[in-house]
């Protein structure tokens, strides 16, 4: 596989060393297989499904489309980095559970990250804006109804 390389990524606020890696590895592969962060899922490996959504310097990206070695210097936040601690759920995570937005759960981490990103930038989206914002996240179980209900519930709670 040719030359292997070493580099350091900043993930969820921590410096993480990557050693002896093939330069062609995607950020998704490195997160999952080298950094023990399997929360980002691989369902298409071509940026169509959003299951691997992460934040890179505050921007929502598909980790499968980012070359890991090119992410050096960026602040990466994965689903594992969104909640404060092991016993803590974000309001988005709690609402997805409360409204029934989780079935098989494979798409769920990607939705958690993309809804987090949406509400950061647009705290009170219309339903159409929500649908548009999460249209890059595919779900095959729910038909989206309960996921949209969860987003609505978060909006209502945050608005007070």
């Amino acid at each position: 596989m040719g030359e292997l390389i070493d580099y350091r990524l900043r993930v969820n606020g921590r410096e993480r060393d990557v050693a002896g890696a093939w330069p062609g590895e995607s950020l998704l592969y490195v997160l999952r297989e080298r950094l023990d962060l399997p929360g980002s899922k691989n369902a298409c490996e071509q940026g169509e499904c959003g299951s691997c959504s992460v934040l890179m310097d505050g921007k929502l990206v598909c980790a499968c489309l980012v070359l890991a070695a090119s992410a050096v210097g960026a602040e990466i936040v994965t689903v594992e980095g969104l909640s404060a601690g092991d016993d803590d759920l974000t309001d988005i995570q709690a609402a997805l559970l409360a409204e029934g937005g989780v079935q098989c759960g494979f798409c769920t981490p990607g939705f958690v990250v993309s809804v987090h990103d949406l509400l950061e930038h647009n705290p009170d989206p219309t339903e159409l804006e929500v649908r548009e914002a999460v249209s890059g996240n595919l779900c095959r179980c729910t038909g989206y109804g309960r996921i949209l209900a969860a987003v609505r519930a978060v909006q209502e709670t945050r608005q007070g």
Binding site: L37, C49, A94, L97, E99, F106, R131, R140, A153
Partner: protein
């Protein structure tokens, strides 16, 4: 409606929380692709690029020479039976002399990095001689056989009443449905770990652990107890995981290398590597009296089974027996058969056999209503099944059959206000990329009713097994039922709480060790079957607990009951917490649950082949751009016969999720086949509904008439939402366009490029006065 997040609460009828919910939202739930073992290798499959070819030789030397490659295996390395199959083992683990579909495995590689494995797979030289693929299901039955077992996979005839009966009004049509993919979000993945005893442990996402184990043991030439399956997290199934995918191959790689081997399919491999929904070609002729009563249904249904048998037998049986839909039909002449072609194998997908038949029989009912000048809802009501009616197989509907209620409640809610003239730009067909004229968008409404048999039938005893252990006031349930996302794990806890009054219910990991089969998580069967087994095991433990208290305290057994988590007698003499009541005793019971027996159909398709049936109706509202051929589904209304609601939120999830897959088949989803080549094996080219495509779902009614024979009165609810939703959406597009549209999915060209003569009666352009603001 929402869920209390306390996973220690929730009895039957309540929206209890999923026990796997918290790890799933935190990204900590271990799916099969998340498995890891020290020193594990990565497996990769070598697949045929040809739909039909003979193999002259396979040269693996260049692959083996690549540093980091640990093993390459082919059919020569399969120690046991070289084929497998759910019904009959006609599918090779690895093709050895003949390739019968594009994507068929030919070899597999294990290497210490996935990229090395991919490169090694590419370095294997297979000497193929491509042959002309058999791709036309209409000629397949009479074409030269492409498999030693011939080209007819299964054939079922159904004859009822007088074959020569005729009606005053006759309508006919030819209908087609495409090859749909389950497109479950988690691709196939597994981890095989060689055991010190020469056996193997496989962590896998599947739908039926014990049937995988049987097939694998035969191929691996190992006794059953050396093939140990452990359920890994399942990222959806919908039928895709009923057949073996990589199970045998990764176990062989692990046994060969003596190291754990992990394999994860890419999305492209997932499209190529699991069975799909059978495409169907269906000819129907309906005869009716002038009052709308059906006299006779004639149907000929050809299902493209692809290269191997899979579950074609059951798909044919469903389509044949329920070809007319949920209606009384005194006379019928039906023939359904599945043929072998050089297409990817087809098998189970949600609603199998009936999604196809419903598409045709509901189009026929609309045609018949038009020919009679009768309201299509009224026509359906006039013929709707009731308890006591018979299928064309002679089987009498002994259970609940609230078809009339389902139709009435679904048809009656008001239609959504507004219309194309006032719809927001983004909500018009095509959304932001829309380029056509708003005045050329038409609204249409369509309606359809469908039915689904629950559980396996045709004489097969698909029992389930469960164990309940009560210790220190904690119930532990062991059952090999596969959680695919549907929420069986939630239901199992609800049942245990309901029966035993405990709050803490632990679910032991599902596997093949130490517990019998639970049957498949398919055919809308686990709530009834494994729910029934869990309930029976819990009831047995409850009985022992109460008997023990009765003996110890000399209280009459029949006066004791469990109320709010305490064993009590009505006079108040006994009031014990569950753990006190057990008095240190550990109570454990295992039960099998069997449904009522069914029989195999006879040569004329007669016999009580099914256990129970569920019914649903859908009304679809669509906006269609006549020039671009784009469709936006505006709203779906549904009513469903559910027997009893056991978990409201989970039930809604099944309805909405099934409808989404129905909308997909209606307007966008089909595997594109070109001379046997799969042309769209990716989410770029095979599109499934996004949140923008999926309309709001309005649940008009959940009909709760407890089903006799069902352990909790409930009917399986997963499949009916997928069945008539397809037919309803296409009916709505017909209403909007006036086109016949005999094929699902409806493609843009079917609308935009329809020949002018085929557009008899386009709806008039809506004016602003028609539209409420």
């Amino acid at each position: 409606m929402s869920i209390a997040l306390d996973t220690r609460r929730g009895r039957l009828g309540e929206s209890a929380a999923r026990p796997d919910g918290v790890p799933k939202v935190r990204g900590q739930f271990a799916f099969s692709g998340d498995m890891f073992a020290e020193s594990m290798l990565w497996g990769h499959m070598v697949r045929s690029p040809h739909p039909a070819a003979t193999i002259r030789g396979i040269d693996v030397s260049q692959a083996l020479a690549i540093p980091g490659v640990r093993a390459v295996i082919t059919s020569d390395d399969v120690p046991g039976r070289k084929t497998y199959g759910l019904d009959y083992p006609d599918q090779p683990v690895f093709a050895w002399d003949v390739v019968r579909f594009m994507g068929e495995p030919v070899a597999a590689v294990a290497a210490d990095h996935p990229e090395t494995a991919r490169r090694a797979a590419a370095a294997i030289v297979v000497d193929y001689v491509p042959t002309e693929p058999l791709t036309d299901p209409e000629i397949a039955a009479d074409a030269p056989p492409i498999h030693p077992l011939g080209n007819v996979l299964h054939r079922q005839r159904v004859r009822a009443g007088d074959a020569d009966a005729t009606g005053a009004v006759v309508v006919e049509g030819r209908y087609e449905t495409g090859m749909q993919d389950q497109a479950q979000m988690g691709t196939e993945a597994g981890l095989a770990i060689p055991g010190e005893d020469g056996g193997v442990d496989l962590y896998i996402a599947t739908q039926w652990l014990h049937v995988d184990q049987e097939q694998m043991a035969a191929c691996l030439a190992l006794p059953l107890d050396k093939v140990r399956l452990h359920l890994a997290g399942v990222g959806g199934s919908f039928g895709a995981r009923e057949d073996l995918s990589m199970q045998v191959q990764i176990c062989l790689l692990a046994l060969r290398t003596g190291r754990p081997v992990k394999m994860v399919y890419s999305r492209e491999e997932s499209f190529l590597g699991h069975v799909h929904r059978h495409p169907a070609i269906m000819w129907y002729r309906h005869h009716a009296n002038l009052d709308g009563r059906l006299v006779k249904v004639e149907a000929r249904i050809i299902l493209d089974g692809g290269a191997y048998l899979s579950s074609s037998t059951a798909v044919v049986m469903n389509a044949a027996c329920m070809a007319p839909g949920p209606y009384r039909v005194p006379n019928a002449v039906v023939e359904a058969f599945a043929v072998r072609t050089n297409h990817p194998p087809c098998g189970a997908m949600r609603g199998f056999g009936l999604v196809q038949a419903c598409f045709a029989h509901e189009a026929q009912m609309d045609k018949l209503a038009a020919a009679l000048g009768m309201d299509p809802i009224e026509l359906r009501l006039r013929n709707a099944f009731r308890t006591g009616d018979s299928l064309i197989t002679g089987q009498v509907l002994k259970g609940t059959a609230p078809v009339t209620e389902v139709i009435r409640t679904c048809a009656s809610p008001p239609l959504p206000p507004g219309g194309p003239a006032t719809t927001a730009e983004l909500e018009l067909p095509g959304g932001v990329s829309r380029a056509s004229d708003r005045d050329r968008v038409r609204r249409g409404v369509g309606f359809a009713v469908g039915m689904k048999n629950l559980m396996y039938g045709g004489g097969f005893d698909d029992y389930s097994t469960a164990r309940c252990r009560l210790e220190d006031g904690v119930a532990t349930i062991t059952c090999a039922a596969v959680e695919v996302g549907q929420g069986f794990v939630t239901l199992a806890q609800q049942i245990a709480r309901e029966v035993l009054g405990v709050s803490e219910v632990v679910l032991a990991p599902a596997g093949t060790m130490g517990i019998g089969s639970a049957g498949s998580s398919s055919a809308s069967r686990q709530t009834w079957m494994s729910g029934g087994a869990v309930q029976a095991a819990c009831l047995a433990v409850r009985d022992r607990l109460l008997t023990s208290v009765s003996n110890r305290l000399a209280v009459a057994r029949e006066t004791l009951e469990i109320v709010d988590g305490r064993v009590v007698s009505p006079d108040g003499a006994v009031e014990l917490a569950i753990n006190e009541a057990a008095s240190g005793e550990v109570l454990e019971e295992t039960r099998e649950f069997h449904h009522a027996p069914t029989v195999e159909l006879d040569a004329d398709g007669q016999g009580d082949a099914f256990v129970s049936f569920a019914f649903a109706a859908h009304r679809a509202v669509v906006d269609v751009d006549l020039d671009l051929g784009l469709v936006r589904v505006v709203e779906i209304t549904t009513s469903q016969d559910v027997g009893r609601v056991l978990n409201p939120v989970q039930l809604v999830g099944q309805l909405e999720g099934g409808i989404a897959q129905g909308v997909g088949l209606a307007v966008m989803e089909a595997i594109v086949l070109d001379h046997g080549h799969v042309r769209n094996p990716s989410f770029t080219d095979y599109v499934i509904p996004t949140a923008l495509d999926m309309p709001p779902v309005h649940i008009a009614a959940l009909i709760e008439e407890p089903e006799p024979g069902s352990p909790m009165g409930a009917k399986g609810a997963g499949e009916p939402p997928m069945i008539s939703s397809v037919a309803a959406v296409v009916a709505a597009i017909r209403d909007a366009t006036g086109l016949e549209l005999p094929r699902a999915p409806v493609r843009p060209q079917d609308i935009a490029l329809a020949v002018p003569g085929a557009r008899p009666d386009p709806k008039p352009s809506p004016t602003n006065t028609e539209v409420s603001p």
